[in-house]
Amino acid sequence: MSAQAAEISPQEYKTDEHPIWCPGCGDFGVLASLYQSLAALKIHSKDLVVVSGIGCSGRTPGFVKSYGFHVVHGRVLPVSLGVKLANPKLTVIGVGGDGDGFAIGGGHIAHAVRRNFDVAYLVMDNATYGLTKGQYSPTAPKGFMAGSTPYGNIEKPINPLAMLIGYGATFVARGYSGKPRELADLITRAIEHKGFAFMDIISPCITFYNTYKVIPPQLAEVPKDHDATSRTRAFELALREDKVYLGVFYQTQEPTFEEGVAQVIKAAQASAPPRLDEIFAEFA
């Protein structure tokens, strides 16, 4: 990440493209918080890449003055890996929805976590497929009624935070689009984290699964005495069903993938950097 000395206003990250989201969509709150975080961190647009998947959240790169890659469904993390590896100086932010991340792209998360490459992965979680008109998603509750589950959803939802803590992610947090200031602080911490930072962001779909009245009474801050350095405590907190906790569940520091790559290259080059000619000699 590159910090610039000059102050940047959150407004400067806006583009000419107007968000296509429904009025009242939680994603507006996430976008506003993202602008705040970028400004707080003074990240220059030229050094920022926002990679997104498919779904309402997938349109985010167009609304952020930065480089962007709007990829195919579920593939935010593999593309982000390539972007970051080829230029580790870039700040890479991955955005996607719960369907994109946990259903079609679910197979990539464990491996992004294993590599611990430096990316902030923000999942805008509305528990529904908004762009295809409201089918149930991997985080939708049992009994969810929608077009593809006319008799009610009979699958149980996944718990994204427990899953990510279980995989071994080095930063795991939850935010809410309706609390933009707190959310901006969390996104800032996720971007600042060196390694794979995961955020589950509750971002209600006002059109197909309006949870604006249901969610707020369940919300609570992560308890002040929570030990976010303990994976066990973090897992316990993620499994609690009394409240929906907001904040950092777990954070630890481990070597990043880019650091590992740099070490391998350094070691390989220690024995005199070979020219192609010397590689040819292996075949003589």
């Binding site: 000419d16 493209e17 647009s45 030229k46 050094d47 920022l48 890449v49 990679v51 498919i54 349109r59 790169p61 167009g62 003055k65 930065s66 480089y67 962007g68 890659f69 709007h70 990829v71 195919v72 593939r75 993390l77 593999p78 593309v79 982000s80 890996l81 390539g82 972007v83 970051k84 590896l85 080829a86 230029n87 100086k89 870039l90 197979g107 990539h108 464990a110 491996h111 790559v261 391998v264 290259i265 070691a267 390989a268 080059q269 950097p273 070979p274 192609l276 590689i279 040819f280 075949f283 003589a284």
Partner: protein, 586 residues
């Protein structure tokens, strides 16, 4: 003239492959041109393995048709391969393992390989080295070269191992002198003086990728492409690059696109099953106009198929795989040497035209070794993608600007003023989604296909022609069949047939300026392919509305020159008899 085909067969794990490799390198160092062919079981231990080495003092174009020397470590190897031994050929077999029925058509040497290895050397595993000693003595292949190679190969395992192997070589060498030489095969030192390299198609390709400036390789292990990844994993870090083994092939190509977006040269290599998974990412590369190189080392399909056997069955997928109108380039590699230069062309085309380039190789080519002149990277000038000018970056940069060539300057992250979104949605010139703008979709599609005009001009240079220039009977082949076809054409021309072969190294878009006169001037055109339906013939039929004569082989093995020669003779008879229906226009 020396031209000798050796085939070693036995149980997987018996040292069949290492016998073949040692023989290959020794003959190459002794001054012979080499052409190998490998088939091996899909299992790691057990199963039948064999390794064929053809050595000659002239240019070799194919693996050869008949075997001159068969080395059988067990009865299964004998039974599988004895039919391929030429009349008067030599069979060397392990007399401890089996006794073949007597035959007049071949010369037999029964050698107690196992007991020589156990009793004289004390290591049963060295029986394959004993067999090399026998061959060295019997066929006059310099023993010093074998010795030198054994020292190099086993040096790291310690002096005892080296000595045991040298001893095994000598045991075989001396033993055979107790038997009378009954055959006439004598090689001696070969004629070639120039320092040549011995490498496989996959190794040549990996070296060419490095010469092209490859920085990152992302891939998932799959036979028969894995050795490209393993070779690069060792070499790329030395030049500041890296290999990542991704969780699947979708991720592999996804990460290639990400790295390419960031400005690095990146590639992946796979085989059919992995290539099937990559199709969605090919579409993204096309829509977002991101350079990418994808190698498909084909094997027998569909589905898991026959993983260790060869086929040319992925052409449809390479050309048509994807939804929508998909501008891409498909190249086909034709020889071990061509793997080096072909992959360089692939990177150049991908960078210059900002689209995916699919490079088709196959198991036959990827895993066979050949002597090649030391590659000269300067023969292909490296082309890098077009970057926006300083003025463009200041005055509202448009990533997907309409241009005469269809190519728009591409900024990379870190460039001030160059920020844009690489879009998988249809988009306007800036890169903003334009998913409801019908006229824009037409213009953008035209823009992406406009690049084909320049690609086609390059395509016409990527064509080889052999035999008669304006032949009565034309052959159009592709990929790894080049040498075999060339040899068959030479056989036919020597016998007075009017035959020529056109071998395009780019299959999509097609080199029409070269194909058209060749096809229209011939009375009949044969298209040999290692697939069931004639995939290239179908592509050409669409273009030329002509009934090509297909020659298809689908047994997981390459063509032999004889098979193609026989087809030429058959077609020539029809043409002479005026049976035009064979080559009728449809």
């Amino acid at each position: 003239m020396a031209d000798c085909v050796f085939r070693v067969g036995g149980e997987g794990g018996e040292g069949v492959i290492s016998t073949g490799e040692l023989l290959t390198l020794t003959l190459a160092r002794a001054g012979y041109e080499i052409y190998t062919f490998r088939t091996y079981p899909a299992e790691i231990k057990g199963g039948h393995a064999n390794y064929q080495v053809r050595a000659s003092d002239k240019l070799l174009l194919s693996q050869g048709a008949q075997v001159d020397v068969l080395v059988a470590f067990n009865e299964e190897a004998y039974q599988k391969h004895i039919k391929d031994l030429r009349s008067g050929g030599v069979l060397l077999y392990d007399a401890d393992s089996f006794t073949p029925p007597p035959a007049d058509s071949a010369i037999f040497y029964g050698i107690p390989l196992t007991s020589l290895a156990t009793e004289k050397v004390g290591v049963k595993l060295t029986k394959n080295i004993v067999s090399l000693g026998v061959m060295s003595s019997l066929f006059d292949i310099p023993i010093e070269t074998f010795e030198e190679l054994l020292k190099e190969r086993f040096g790291r395992k310690g002096e005892t191992v080296v000595q045991k192997n040298l001893q095994a070589l000598r045991v075989g060498y001396d033993y055979i002198k107790t038997q009378q030489k009954k055959d006439a095969i004598r090689l001696g030192p070969g004629p070639r003086q120039a320092k040549e390299l011995v490498m496989s198609g996959n190794e040549s390709l990996a070296l060419g990728a490095i010469a092209s400036g490859l920085k990152f390789y992302f891939g998932y292990p799959i036979t028969p492409a894995t050795d490209i990844m393993e070779f690069l994993a060792k070499e790329l870090p030395k030049i500041g690059g890296f290999v990542v083994q991704t969780e699947d092939e979708i991720s592999a190509l996804g990460a290639v696109l990400g790295a390419s977006f960031s400005g690095a040269k990146a590639m992946t290599a796979t085989s059919g099953p992995g290539f099937s998974l990559m199709i969605e990412m090919l579409g993204l590369a096309e829509m977002s106009e991101t350079p990418a190189v994808v190698v498909d080392v084909q094997r027998v399909g569909p589905s898991t198929g026959m993983p260790t056997k060869t086929e040319q069955g992925d052409l449809y997928l390479a050309v048509y795989g994807g939804h929508g109108s998909c501008p891409r380039v498909v190249l086909a590699l034709s020889s071990v040497e061509d793997c080096f230069y072909g992959i360089m062309q692939a990177f150049n085309i991908a960078e210059r035209f900002q689209m995916p380039v699919i490079v088709l190789s196959d198991q036959y080519l990827g895993h066979r070794k050949a002597t090649v002149p030391k590659p000269d990277p300067s023969r292909v000038q490296i082309i890098n993608r077009l970057a926006p000018t300083a003025e463009e970056l200041k005055a509202g940069y448009k990533r997907y600007r309409f241009t005469d060539s269809g190519v728009s300057p591409m900024a990379v992250p870190g460039t001030e003023g160059g920020h844009y979104v690489a879009e998988g949605l249809e988009h306007d010139e800036i890169g903003y989604p334009a998913a409801s703008n019908h006229e824009n979709h037409l213009r953008m599609t035209e823009k992406r296909y406009k690049k084909f005009q320049a690609v086609e001009a390059i395509a016409n240079e990527l064509v080889n022609l052999y035999g008669v220039e304006h032949p009565e009977i034309g052959i159009i082949g592709w990929g790894s069949s080049e040498g075999v076809i060339r040899e068959a054409v030479q056989m036919a021309v020597d016998q007075g047939y009017s035959v020529g072969a056109l071998h395009p190294k780019i299959l999509y878009p097609q080199p029409l300026a070269k194909l058209r006169p060749f096809i229209e001037g011939a009375k009949a055109v044969i298209i040999p392919e290692l697939n069931y339906t004639g995939q290239f013939a179908t592509l050409l039929r669409k273009r030329f509305a002509l009934d090509f004569i297909q020659l298809n082989k689908v047994i997981g093995l390459p063509f032999t020159p004889r098979e193609i020669f026989d087809k030429i003779v058959e077609v020539a008879e029809h043409v002479r008899a005026g049976r035009r229906n064979l080559a009728a226009r449809v």
